[in-house]
Each structure stands twice: as C-alpha cells, then as structure tokens.
Amino acid sequence: MTSVLNPKFTFETFVVGAANRLAVTAGRTVAENPGSAYNPLFIYSGSGLGKTHLLMAIGHSAKALAPQLNIEYLTLDEYVEAFHAAIAAGQGDAFRRRFQNVDALLVDDVQFLTNRKEMQAELLRLTEALQQAGHQIVLTSDRPPAEIADLDERLISRFSGGLVVDIGVPDYETRVAILRRKAEERGARFQPGVLEAAAGVEFPNVRELMGALNRLVAYQAVNDTPINVEAARQVLGVADATAATAASSSAAVTGDEFSQFLTDVTVTVGRAVEAWRARVAEAVLRWEGEGYRTGRLEKLLDQDSPAAVDEAIAAYIGDVERLRALEAEVGELDPQAAGEKVFRDPERMAEAEAAAAKVRDGAAPPPAPSGAFPLDGYAAGASNDVALSAARAVIDAPGKKYNPLVLVGKSGLGKSHLLNAIGLELMKKKGAVVACLSTQGFVDELIAAIDGNRVDWWRARYRRATALLLDDIQLLAGKERTQEELFNIFNQFLDGDRQLVFTAPAHPNTLQGLEERIVSRLEGGLVAEIGNPDRELRRTALERILIQQKVSVEPALLDYLADRPADSVRSLTGLVLRVSEAAAAQDQPVTAGLAREILEGQPPAGARRTTGLRTSGLVVSSAGGVRSREKMVWDWPSAADRVIEDLR
C-alpha cells in the first residue's frame, strides 16, 4: 500500500537552483526537525519539476537522521485506495490508528482531493491528529491549496497554516547543471556547448529536459562521431531559436519580417556570446559569488576567440582550489591572516604562497618543556607525595581529573622540575602540543606580539596547544592584559578539557596582584603543596646531585650532607657545589671529612667564589661611592686622538 521511497531521489541528487532553493531549504529543515519546523509543509509546482523527488528526499533524509522514525510516503490515490479497502473490510479504525502513528506523513499529489468530500474529511481529521501529536506532514500538489477546486475551507487553512512553497521552472544555469549531472550519471560525454545548447531550449519542466538529454544520448550512441552543437539543435528540433519563435508567432505574414530579424540577431548574438563565453561567464559568476577575484577570466571575455578556454578555466579552478587549501591551512594557524584578500585572488598565487609560508613559519609551536627535567629524575618523598601523585593523574588523564593543577611550594623545592616533567610526559601523547614556559616568558611574548601587531597570531598559537604549563604564576601580578589573555585561554582550555598546570610560591588566594577571576579559577582545580624535603628525600636528591657532579657517592658523605639543615633542593645543590669546588681547588677527593671542614670550619678561599656578589676586590655598593654621575668621567677620549691633538 505504502510506496517505497525511490533510493535515487535524495537531496544529493537534487540539483538546486534559484527556482527551487526555498523549497529545498524548507525540505531539509523539515527532514532535520520533523514536526517542529514547518508543519504542514506544502510544496506545489508544475508537473515534472521535482515535487516527488523532493518529497522522497525529505523521507530519506529524515530516515537517515533518525532511523527509528516511522515515515510513510504515499500518493493521495494510494491513500484513498487504502482507505476504501479498509472501510470495505470493516477496518476503518485500524486504518486511522495506523496513520495516526506515523512520525512523518508524506502525501504526493493532493490536488486529486477535488470532489472527494469524504476523503477531505478524513484527511482533515488525520492532519489535525498528526499536528496535535507533533508529527510532520508534507504535502505536494500541482497548485497552491487555495486553487485546488472544491477543497474544504478548513483544509485550505490547515494546509496554508504551515509553509507553502513552490518550485519554479529552472533557469538556464540550473538547466545546464541538471544536464551535466544527469549526463555524468549516465556516463555520457558531450562536446563543449552541446549541453548548453540543450539547456538553451526553454523546456517547461525537467522531465522534458531529461527527454532532450535522452535523445542526445541516443543520437550520440548510434553515431560514431560525437554530436556537435548544430546537430544537437537539430536533434532537439530547434534548428535555431527562430524556428521555435516563428512557430509561436504564427501570425503568418506579419511575423515574417520580425522573425527574419530575430534570426539575424540570434546569429549575431550567437557569434558574440558563443558557448565558450557562456562557460566563462558561468565560471566568473560562480567564483565571484564565492568571493574570488575573477579578473583573469574576465580578460578572456574581452578577447575575440581565445585559445584553450576550458584549460584556462580549469587552471583557474586549480588555482582557486590551491588558494582554498592555503586559506584553510592558514586559518588553523592564524584566523586573522586567513581573511586576507591575497587568498581570494588567483592572480597573486605567489603572494598567497608566500603569505602562507610566512604564517607557517611564524606559527612555530609554543615553547616546549625543557628536556633537562625528566620525570624519573624527580626525587619522590613524603613532602611532595600529593603533588607527584596529582602530576601522575594529570599525565594519565590530561584535562580530565585535576584541571588546573597548581603546584605550590617555596622556591627550590622542585616545582619547575615537576612542571617540566609533566610537560615532557604530556608531549609523548599523540598530537599533543604542550606549551611550557615561565610566566615572565609568557608576558614577554605577549608584549612582543602587541608590538608586532599580531596578537591574534599569538593567541592562536596558544589556543592550538593541548596543554599549557606556566611557571611562577605570581609574576602575573599587575599585568592586566596578560591576565585578561590568560583568562580567555583558561576558559577555552577548561571548555576543551585541555590540561593547565601552574606553579606558585604560595596558595593562589594569598598571591597579591592577581585578579579575582584568575585566583578563583586557579583554586577551582587542585592546589598541591610541595613541602620542605625530609631527610630521606634530601638523601635521594643529594645522591642524584652528586652523581650529576661526578662526585663519588660515599654513604658517609651522603649522610653528613643529608643531615645538614637545608630547606630546599636548591640549597642542597649549593652545598654540594661548594664542597666539590673546594675539593677541586685543594685537589682532593670529596669526602665527608672535607665537606665538614668546608661547611663548618674555616672555608678555604676558593669556596668564597660561590657566595655571590664578591667578584673582585672592589665592592660596588649602590649606597656608597660616587653618587653624582657628573663627577665621574664616563667616556675617556681614545689615546690615539689625544696624541694627534698634542702633535698639532
């Protein structure tokens, strides 16, 4: 009873032109949101313009989007037949129930409702029921509802209550497009201009257009040589356009002079606007519509008979495709640069390539974590237990578990090490772009970007990152613009489940100069503290440092150094350096005894070097000495100049 949807009739095979764009758009909308967009949707058009195709396309598309939907397609005649059969079998109620349960009812050719009062009443009841249940109805007809003879007023108002759209006769371009697509589907190839000639005939509907194509295909099949434009015209019965016109203006005698004139004009226009011109114009129209410069094609039109028109068009399209690819590539790296005009002008391919290359170069990935801080080089202990396990959780599921992760601890406890280690581990994941840098570097980059007027590029660079790791977040204090930018990046990362890791010397809410919104976001993740290292951790760390310094690791030395009061790994490193340098100066191996002598006894002269400011015998103090610049001689004239001066 219910017809099966013809698999050929889908939106993909429907050629959209100006005449049917509205109907197709409405159809797509209905297929995507059955029952909610336009209900009922009423499509009308003359015969052979694609009503049934569109109706079935809606059915296919709706089914593809929501396979569980119950979709019924049938023509009105089938509906009537089914109804009569049901009544005859005494199954009227079952029939009604069946149709009230469909999710989308597609009824073709409802103009046949004329003079069928009982069917009109039935359909009215059905549409009311379906609409109330929020089910979609799509109807087609060859005329608008109001023009269907003898149609119940209530049905007219119901049908018109949703959306009434019509499908017009395709214009020349659409006809060409339809012919091309159909010819392609049939695997038929024609000489350039043949399909255009066929499209030039104003067929009242697409079915007749298909008939014309069939004739061309058949003619070409029986002849060895490909059909040319003139032959095509003959096959189609339009030896020239005038023959048709003369026939139409059959006011015999008076028509002659005019039709003769028309013939002449047609010939002249045909010469001026040959098929190749139409093709070029078509290309111009198309690419202009897409926003590309078409100067090159327009120049073709200025010539009398340019050679290799189709090649020129193909080359142009090739260039445009390349531009598109470039633009897409650039768009990923730098959205602002993608909008540049150069990507819309095939005359400036070289410039476009250069611009793309520039963006490509400029879009170096953001600073990566330092390789000097591997995770297995990180000494674990009770004091950094929380931080380390959080770091491992972050590495296992970036963006999912703790986002952001804030590592808090005093200077020298290994925050930066852990940060970089997380970064290195994250980098190992596929497609990962890890931005890991100090907050100072971050600020400096932003300033440089503002200076170079490419903040968008800078932003895009970070937005592409899959993880952002910032060291020493407290340095953001007072940098409003950076905080603003970070805030935006922050939100994007959180939305995209991308990992953020920060380090700070203290709890974010105790940091001065940070905006409330940043602080609250930092607190929103996990704040993991790293405490002062205990003896065990100090021992482990020392062992690593000693190995790094290529000092032989004696347990006694290790024990002694681990017992020294040190509140950070950095101060441990300082200890080891002092001892090993002193040992080197005295040309002795590093031992526990030597270390004790150096650290507790009178430190030898060599060790003093490590204490910082004293680089020479002179003490340069900002408080004392010469205070006035005027009293200093800052620039001595060169000796050579003075000698010459004296000789004179």
Binding site: Y172, T268, A272, E298
Partner: protein, 199 residues
Amino acid sequence: MSLVNFTTREITCKIVYYGPGRSGKTTNLHYVYGRVPESRRGRMVSLATQTDRTLFFDFLPIDLGQISGFATRFQLYTVPGQVYYNATRRLVLQGADGVVFVGDSQARQLDENVESLQNLQSNLLEHGVDVRTVPVVMQYNKQDLPRELILTPAELDDALNFRGVPSFPADALHGQGVFETLKAISELVLKRLAAGSTA
C-alpha cells in the same frame, strides 16, 4: 549603460532613432511595432502634440527572448525632431548603444538633415561620446516620393554619409527598409559585444 550583463544574463540594447523633424522616425517605430508579435513587445509609449508631432519621445521595448542563454531586449527610442526640443533629444540620447539617423530624402530638406546630423554630433559630445565610436546607420526615408522631389541614395550618401556608415533607402510608411535598418544597427551594436564592451 551596460550592454551585456553576464551577471543577470541580459543583453539590453538602446537604439535611438535620430533625425530632423518629420523625417519618419516615429513611422519607423510604428512599423516595427506592427510587426512584432504581441507577446514580444511592450507598450509603445508615444508622447505627441496635438498635430501628431513627437513631443517628448517614443519608446518601444522589444523582448527577443532567450538568445544563447541571454534575455535579449531592444529598446527603441525616437527623439523629437523639431529644433527647439534639443534638451529632450540630449536626454534620450544618453546611454544610447546605437543611433539610426533617419534622413528625409526630399531635396528641399537637405539642410535640415545636415543640421540634425551636426546636432547629433554635438549632443553626443555633450555626453562625452565621440560620434565615431558609436554605431550609427543612415536611413534615407521617403524614397517612395516622386523622383523629382527627392535625392537618390547615392546623392544623399555624398551629402550626408561622409563617415561611410551603412545606409539604407527606405519607405517607412510601407515598411520598406525598416527592418533592414534595424538589423544593421543591431548587428553593429551586438558586434561591440565581441569587441569587449562588457560592463
């Protein structure tokens, strides 16, 4: 004025019939009007004085239908021939794609012909158009009058057609030469398509 519009796929030709008063410009249009099938022509607009002289201008749009995928339209205009309507003439001439100069073959009208021709040239110049760049054809009308009253086409060519543009003897009242003239000017105008005068 754009002759060929590739965007809207239209060809529009504005052709102006120019010439001295009573030389038969409106008659030309009337004849064409009578021959064009009703479906193809628009309403002919004619603003005439009580004595049937063209007061403002005549306008006849003709729709030639789709030619090579282009909706082709001709717009035929006439100017009022009388000397004192020069402002109107200039206005009508604006944006003309081609000019048909309808001359009066009567010997005693020769001066009027010359004067009108000069007037055409100066009016075109007012629009910044060189008469040599505009398609122009000549039509020597009223060739049906008695021999002794008129000049032959050859004589008229000598007197008027110093640029050597196509010229046609005509009897607009009976239609002789009307379509030949129209055809010639159309060809000249449309040939400029190929010459690349696209918008």
